[in-house]
């Protein structure tokens, strides 16, 4: 059927995985339509501007960074599959990251994009664990996440076979959890492996302009390949008939049809589209279990962070005690631990960002934020902004509150509520459901998942997830037919 409202594939969500899937399909001549409810693309890694200033939503750093010429890595595979020239992403590597525990910052590890640095740190600070660490790193280094199944094994249990020091164990888990874990306190070993490789064995990087150049490249590729993208056009319902999606109902009530549907909005969120009830923002909090979410503050400075002596660290993962507790907090914000990201401190080849930027991220409780009436919500944000600044400040070279205020030109803050509002992901979940669906199946023959809940993590991971979904469920399926 060649009617204007029938497509080979409809993709729900114009985030990184949806765009990547769309590029693959459009490149091979499929009629694709990506439907995105929001006005901006990028999903959990989108962007916005306030007062003429540009901000990124999600991107601290892109994981899976490897230097040019490195073969056989997720980044390389991604560039090939999407026919993207490495230079188009213009990735700039991190300078260094630190994991620091203890109120006085007593224990910690440094790591860079050179895995030897982390090894050296462990050899010096945990000399009895270095052999175990090397064994662990070696076994994880030969991992292929595309082939991996959710092993169901506890990452903690496996790691403890190699590393006997709980402090080192938590130091290693801390960044991996903050940058990709949907599970409280422990991780699936397969997920742990993906994160370990993408951060410790590969590296972190960021384009000078943040997420926008990456999104621009994806949008361009998709457009040039002939893909169609409808913004401000969410999917309200998926109509099932005979074990298949028979129609896609959009927010405005109109219907489009497709041979295949790929959904990037999350497993539970997708199942909700199959039910009769019309779309509702902010799903029942109980459904699908507790979700890990965050608050993040962004502070724009008129000075470069190095002027405060903050010029060395790209990312600081902090925790003010010896054991690291990664879980949904009872309070609105868990001040005990968090992530400080200083986007200025990537190696931009001699260029400086036009302004100083410092981001502080902490674990947060969605329900506590979602229930607040608007004026209380704003007041709570202001209060917690101060508290998070103070908490994070313990782990950077000290700067007086007066000096920091004088240097601050703007602040912004988002909460779990913001995340749900703009992405539709339930309970402000950034890393999706703790239960991943590796094969992307939903029970319906022509509906598949991609993105976070398919189990691939990080920006590179989510794009590979979209690529794999397009390849496996549409392109190869047709070849088999």
């Amino acid at each position: 059927m060649n009617s204007p409202s029938h497509y080979d594939t409809v993709i729900v969500g114009a985030g990184m995985s949806g765009l990547a899937a769309g590029i693959r399909l459009a490149h091979f001549g499929r009629r694709v339509c990506i439907c995105e409810r929001h006005s901006a693309p990028g999903g959990l890694n989108s962007f916005y501007s306030i007062g003429g200033r540009k901000y990124d939503v999600g991107l601290h750093a892109m994981t899976n960074y490897v230097p040019a010429g490195t073969k056989g890595t997720p980044l390389g595979r991604l560039l090939r599959q999407l026919r993207i020239d490495r230079e188009e992403l213009a990735l700039c590597p991190q300078k260094q990251s630190r994991v620091v525990f203890g109120a006085g910052g007593g224990a910690g590890l440094r790591f860079t994009n050179d895995r030897a640095v982390l090894e050296q740190e462990i050899a010096e600070k945990f000399p009895r664990q270095i052999d175990g660490f090397r064994r662990l790193a070696t076994s994880l280094g030969i991992y292929d996440e595309l082939a991996a199944d959710s092993s169901g094994a506890s990452a903690r249990a496996v790691v403890r076979r190699h590393i006997a020091d709980p402090l080192l164990e938590d130091l290693l888990f801390c960044p991996l959890m903050y940058y990709g874990s949907a599970s409280e306190r422990d991780m699936d070993y397969a997920q742990f492996g993906i994160m370990f490789r993408s951060i410790y064995l590969e590296g972190l990087a960021r384009p000078f302009e943040g997420i926008r150049p990456i999104i621009r490249v994806l949008l361009d590729k998709f457009r040039v390949a002939g893909g169609e993208r409808r913004m401000n056009c969410g999917v309200a319902r998926l109509v099932e008939r005979g074990g298949r999606v028979a129609a896609v109902v959009l927010d405005d009530g109109s219907e489009i049809t497709a041979d295949h549907v790929i959904s990037s909005i999350g497993a539970d969120e997708t199942r909700a589209l199959l039910r009769a009830a019309p779309y509702a923002t902010g799903a029942p909090a109980v459904e699908g279990g507790r979700r890990l979410s965050f608050v993040e503050t962004i502070r724009v400075l008129r000075t470069q962070p190095r002027d405060f002596g903050w010029g060395d660290d790209t990312i600081v993962f902090f925790n003010d005690r010896d054991r690291f507790d990664y879980a949904v907090p009872a309070e609105p914000v868990d001040l005990r631990s968090g992530v400080i990201c200083i986007p200025n401190n990537f190696d931009y080849g001699g260029r400086d960002l036009p302004e100083g930027l410092v981001r502080v991220t902490c674990l947060a409780n969605y329900a506590a934020w979602a229930a607040l009436p608007e004026p209380d919500y704003r007041a709570a944000k202001a209060r917690w902004l101060g508290a998070m600044t103070a908490s994070a400040g313990r782990f950077l070279l000290p700067v007086t509150e007066a000096a920091l205020d004088a240097a601050t030109v703007a602040t912004d803050m988002f909460t779990p509520r913001t995340i749900t509002h703009f992405t539709g992901h339930w309970q402000g979940a950034v890393y999706g459901s703790p239960c991943k669906v590796r094969d992307g199946g939903t029970g319906l023959a022509n509906l598949h998942l991609c993105g976070t809940d398919q189990g691939m993590l990080g920006i590179v991971g989510s794009m590979l997830s979209g690529i794999a979904a397009a390849n496996r469920h549409v392109l190869q399926a047709a070849a088999r037919a």
Binding site: S39, A40, Y48, S49, R216
Partner: protein, 432 residues
């Protein structure tokens, strides 16, 4: 798809068109991107206009030796890759530079703009001469064997090339084309964009004019054959409108592109507004291929002023077209003298004395040089008038030195072109 929905939709469009014709939306300029022989930013360009600095230099023109010309010195690689510069045209590079600068200036979050609702409307005098002449020259090196004619030639020479290159560079999927209106083209780009915005065809327009004409010897040679090509031992003094010793045109390249929006949209997003489109008129002489007609020019100016709902006394700055041809300057002065008879306070200037004749870009660039006057009340002069030609002695002429005006609320921008096309554009100071 003749469903109930589309019929109703069609009726709605017709109703809204009717409404708009009754009271068309007001249109404003919200961003400026330019490259001229006198600067690549508005502030640099304006500073040189106020300081009496000419941007004309001597260049080597094939078969003609050294000629005074206006050349732009912007960095094409700021917004283009080397490959794109090589495959595309100079006019394309100028257009891309100006469009990107205008977008950076206007404060819009470009990543959030719906690219299907952006239009590109660029005035050009000519396009294709540069590429064709150069390709024929290259071919002569291969004994005119047409197997060596580049496959890039067609996309390089279609008249919409400058607009098309902008669309490619920015991923704009709305309408993108050029308007051919000889030396009036710069105004036509702005006028046409205003109309498209009023019709609701687009929500954002990139509009103005561009020219790469210094790249072709043919235009120089043709002006010379007409007796209309300027010469002077000092290139900075070669372009001398209204001066007794003027002897013709200085050919220049350049570009100026504005972001234009409906006033309500601009106000809603808190945009900075350079000015508002007050009124305009476009007409034709129907007299001669080359020589201008003062009667039709006067008519064009009067109609523009009426279209803006103003009287001649309410025009504060008149930026003349005057290209420094012996005849052309006189005709325009006749027209202006007649329309503005008795208007003691009107200030009359000219930009070509500084930057030469930027062809398709002229109208747009010359307007840009005057827009800052809304804020600082200073009117830039016309330079190189050592001895004013009595036949061009308009009382409002601002000669050689800038002048402070009592009031700058309305600017009239004249651009006249070959085959008798006339355009007059009025920009008024925006008041909230």
């Amino acid at each position: 798809m003749a469903t109930q929905n589309s019929l109703a939709h069609g009726r709605c469009v017709a109703d809204s068109l009717l409404l708009r014709r009754m009271k068309p939306p007001r249109i404003v300029l919200t961003g400026i991107g330019l490259t001229s022989p006198n600067g690549n930013t508005l502030s640099e360009y304006r500073q040189n206009l106020l300081n009496g600095v000419s941007g004309i230099e001597l260049i080597e023109v094939r078969y003609m030796g050294a000629q005074p010309a206006g050349v732009c010195h912007f960095d094409p690689l700021k917004y283009q890759k080397k490959k794109d510069v090589r495959i595309g045209t100079r006019a394309g590079s100028i257009s891309i530079f100006c469009a990107r600068e205008a977008l950076a200036d206007c404060g819009l979050d470009w990543d959030r703009v719906d690219k299907t609702r952006v239009g590109i409307y660029l005035g050009i005098t000519e396009h294709g001469n540069v590429e064709t002449e150069n390709e024929i020259y290259n071919l002569s090196l291969f004994k005119h064997d047409t197997r060596f004619w580049t496959h890039h030639h067609n996309p390089r020479t279609v008249a919409n090339n400058p607009a098309g290159e902008v669309s490619l560079n920015l991923g704009i999927t709305g309408p993108a084309y050029t308007l051919g209106a000889a030396c009036a083209a710069g105004n036509l780009g702005i006028i046409h964009a205003a109309q498209m915005l009023q019709l609701g065809e687009v929500d954002l327009a990139l509009a103005g004019g561009v020219s790469e004409s210094v790249g072709t010897f043919g235009i120089f040679a043709a002006f010379k054959s007409q007796g209309a090509l300027a010469s002077h031992p000092d290139p900075t003094k070669a372009s001398r409108p209204f001066d007794k010793k003027r002897n013709g045109i200085v050919v220049s390249e350049g570009g100026c592109i504005y972001t234009m929006e409906r006033r309500d949209d601009a106000l809603a997003r808190g945009a900075r507004i350079y000015g508002e489109v007050g009124g305009y008129c476009v007409n034709s002489d129907a007299t001669d291929y080359v020589l201008p007609n003062a009667v039709r020019q006067a008519e064009c100016i009067r109609k523009a002023i009426a279209h803006a709902g103003l009287t001649p006394a309410e025009i504060d700055i008149v930026n003349t077209h005057a290209t420094a041809t012996p005849q052309g300057d006189i005709q325009e002065c006749l027209a202006i003298g007649e329309v503005f008879a008795g208007c003691a306070d009107v200030n009359i200037n000219n930009t070509k004395s500084f930057i030469g004749h930027c062809m398709g870009a002229a109208g747009a660039l010359e307007l840009a040089g005057n827009l800052p006057s809304f804020d600082d009340l200073i009117v830039h002069p016309t330079i190189n008038v050592d001895e004013l030609d009595p036949q061009c002695a308009l009382s409002g002429l601002v000669l050689n030195q800038p002048r402070t005006a009592k009031r700058v609320d309305a600017i009239l921008n004249n651009s006249f072109g070959m085959l008798g096309i006339n355009s007059a554009l009025i920009i008024i100071r925006h008041r909230t």
